[in-house]
């Protein structure tokens, strides 16, 4: 875990903006608690996100009069895009860890119609499929005699 704990509720609001709620079915990434996962993945490097986050809050106050977490939802995306431009690389690493963590989260797996479990030991049933499709292959690709 990094020494510079990322500021809340700002970081959570950023994650909610990156992966928003899926209707009523699923909360956004921040509300699902992905902040802790992402911060842990960055480890000591999490501090590198701080300048961009601080810049985001400053920009939000300047434009909306509110901190980012309280800014009108319609404006948050624009603010985030602008900050991503001013801090190149800010979103790249953040999205990598966020996407990986989010799509391994039990609630997200269930929302995709999967069971929230590792592949082992349950495995998956899988039908053999129609081997009759091979009837048409005949002598295609016949090996070369030597």
């Amino acid at each position: 875990m990094s020494q510079d704990k990322l500021p809340q509720p700002l970081f959570s609001a950023v994650l909610d903006e990156l992966i928003p709620a899926r209707g009523d079915a699923l909360a956004g990434a921040g509300a699902l608690g992905l902040g802790e996962y992402v911060e842990a993945q960055f480890g000591e490097g999490a501090g590198a996100l701080l300048p961009a986050l601080a810049g985001l809050d400053d920009l939000s106050r300047e434009r909306t009069g509110e901190a980012f977490a309280q800014a009108p939802s319609g404006q948050r995306g624009t603010l985030l895009t602008e900050i991503a431009g001013a801090f190149p690389g800010f979103l790249d690493g953040l999205l990598f860890h966020l996407y990986a963590g989010y799509y391994q989260h039990p609630q997200v797996m269930e929302a995709l119609g999967l069971e929230a479990r590792p592949p082992f030991p349950g495995g998956y049933p899988l039908a053999m499929g129609d081997l009759g499709l091979l009837d048409a292959v005949g002598t295609r690709g016949k090996y070369r005699e030597v």
Binding site: E17, L18, I19, P20, R22, G77, L80, L91, L95, F96, Y99, A100, G101, Y102, Y103, Q104, P106, V108, M109, L112, L114, A116, R117, P118, P119, F120, P121, G122, G123, Y124, P125, L126, A127, M128, G129, D130, L131, L133, L134, A136, V137, G138, T139, R140, G141, K142, Y143, R144, E145, V146
Partner: protein, 535 residues
């Protein structure tokens, strides 16, 4: 410290070393295998955890030895190669991570000089290896379907891996174009086999099979070989093969699990460290008699390194394909473009190994890197259009031997025991580049025929340095080869090489069943000629 002498010393407990140890065990000779890695614990494999997808990219189960941070691995300087080394160092060797796609060479692969005027013919042929392919298929537990027109008749011992919806979809695409395809021979126990549990379609076989269904040699050959008396010493890294006054191999100096230097004397030494590890060790074994490295009077140790240049082509489909279920790399093979057709602008050819789909996190990461998955309001609808809708293939191009492509010793880089590490110099030939272009175009064509609405590709595939061949080639002439037709070093009568280093050419298929068949064939020769082996 010097150990008790043994009859046979095998170095490396991967695919080829395991087959050799098992085959020789019946002789009741004293056999020791030294392996720098340890036994794997299936409970450690990523499929035991929900983080199985992200564990593919970093950490102890990732592909590159340089990124794993395990003491058992040795670093490889592959900066001078567009294709990077992927391997694994443990009991089972690289079969711990391999996909278990298990096609044989074709009869023509052993005769490329006679047939196509390129490279060299092998001094052995398909018929010589055929009984050993069959034996190996039993031991590794090969699943497949008889009747593939692309091969002489063969009888895989187990039923094929399921096609599932994804296989049917792709098969229909091949049929539309009239191209060859067949369910892949796969070293995967589709039924209980030799005490191994059947495959339960976990998917990501290339981070290790927690079920024990995949034929990695720690669960196939090794348990039997050890039961039959072979001593497998783990966490023992060989530094050098020693020679006596007569120029015979006398044993090996190694660093044991406690970091102590040991000497193991032996009557016969067998190298099974793979196409990079074997030349590295031979080049590290210099002496007054062999100043350029052991068995290297031809100067060919380390040269003629062949990978298979890989292309990857994927397609996006409109319907879910259930592609995340089933062994990821074992589905269908197409050999429509396997043989030379000069009208294509290159010699020799390639196989298409069809792949199943990817998991939810990999889908998101690929969507991000390809620009198909935005963040923000559109994220979920974009993801829904990607999830479980991808299928694709890798195209395995035959690599021709070229002396400039080689393994040498790095002047600076060393492993954890201070032993010089290998350095790779490799460039893609014009022939390979043309073949890759052709493969990408045909791959996209068949995906479209199968219903893909979009396709994308990458060639060459950077991490695809997993087939390591040619660096101690086999031949009859000591000036143009390192080992003779039974794997014995021309320069050292009691030194054998049985891994992919001995390949004369690479074929256009994954190499493991061929290198294991060679290992069993060499073992058979040793067993039949024990009394006269050194005459």
């Amino acid at each position: 410290m010097s150990q008790e002498p043994v009859d046979v010393l095998i170095i490396g407990a991967g695919a080829s070393g395991a087959a050799m140890a098992w085959s020789l065990a019946e002789t009741r000779m004293r056999i020791v295998c030294l392996e720098q890695g340890g036994w794997m614990n299936p409970a450690d494999y990523p499929t035991n955890r929900t983080s199985w997808e992200s564990e593919r990219f970093t950490g102890p189960f990732s592909l590159s030895p340089n990124g794993r941070g395990r003491r058992e691995d040795y670093p490889v300087n592959d900066d001078a190669s567009p294709i990077k080394i992927s391997n694994y160092n443990a009991v089972g060797g690289s079969t711990i991570l391999y996909a278990a796609h298990f096609p044989r060479f074709h009869p023509s692969d052993f005769r490329v000089k006679s047939l196509d005027g390129v490279a060299d013919d092998w001094p052995i042929d398909y018929a010589t290896l055929e009984p050993f392919y069959d034996l190996n298929a039993q031991m590794m537990g090969v699943a497949g379907l008889p009747g593939d027109p692309a091969y002489p008749p063969k009888q895989p011992p187990l039923p094929p891996v399921p096609l599932g919806k994804i296989g049917e979809t792709l098969g229909r695409g091949f049929n539309k174009l009239g191209w060859h395809w067949w369910p892949s021979d796969s070293a995967i126990a589709t039924q209980e086999h030799g005490g191994r549990a059947p495959c339960i379609n976990l998917g990501p076989c290339i981070t290790g099979c927690a079920q024990g269904a995949k034929g990695s040699t720690d669960v196939t050959y090794w348990p039997v070989a050890v039961r039959e008396g072979v001593e497998l010493r783990t966490h023992c890294r060989v530094r050098e093969i020693t020679v006596d006054d007569q120029g015979m191999a006398s044993g090996a100096i190694y660093i044991d699990e406690n970091g102590e230097e040991q000497f193991q004397p032996a009557e016969i030494v067998i190298m099974a460290c793979n196409g990079v590890g074997t030349p590295r060790l031979l080049l590290n074994s210099r002496s007054d008699r062999f100043p350029d490295g052991l068995a290297n009077s031809s100067g060919l140790v380390g040269r003629n390194l062949m990978f298979h240049p890989y292309a990857m082509v994927n397609g996006l489909f409109e319907e879910p394909l259930e592609g995340y279920k089933g062994p990821a790399g074992c589905l269908i093979i197409s050999q429509e473009f396997y043989e030379t057709d000069l009208a294509r602008g290159f010699v020799r050819g390639y196989s298409a190994e069809m792949l199943r789909g990817i998991g939810p996190a990999s889908t998101a990461l690929w969507g991000m890197s390809s620009g198909r998955l935005p963040w923000g309001a559109e994220h979920h609808s974009a993801y829904d259009g990607l999830w479980d809708r991808t299928a694709g293939m890798v195209l395995i191009c035959e690599d021709l031997p070229e002396p400039e492509n080689r393994v040498t010793l790095d002047p600076d880089l060393v492993d954890a025991d201070g032993i010089p590490a290998p350095r790779i110099e490799y460039a893609l030939s014009e022939n390979s580049l043309k073949m890759l272009d052709h493969a990408v175009a045909r791959g996209s064509e068949v995906l479209r025929a199968a219903g893909a609405i979009d396709t994308w590709s990458e060639a060459p595939l950077p991490p695809a340095g997993w087939h390591l061949m040619g660096t101690a080639r086999m031949g009859t002439d000591p000036e143009t080869s390192v080992v003779d037709p039974v794997g014995r070093a021309h320069d050292v009568k009691n030194l054998f090489v049985v891994d992919g280093s001995v390949f004369v050419t690479s074929g256009g298929v994954n190499p493991t069943c061929t290198l294991q068949a060679i290992s069993l064939y060499v073992a058979d020769h040793i067993k039949k000629n024990l009394a006269t082996l050194f005459d």
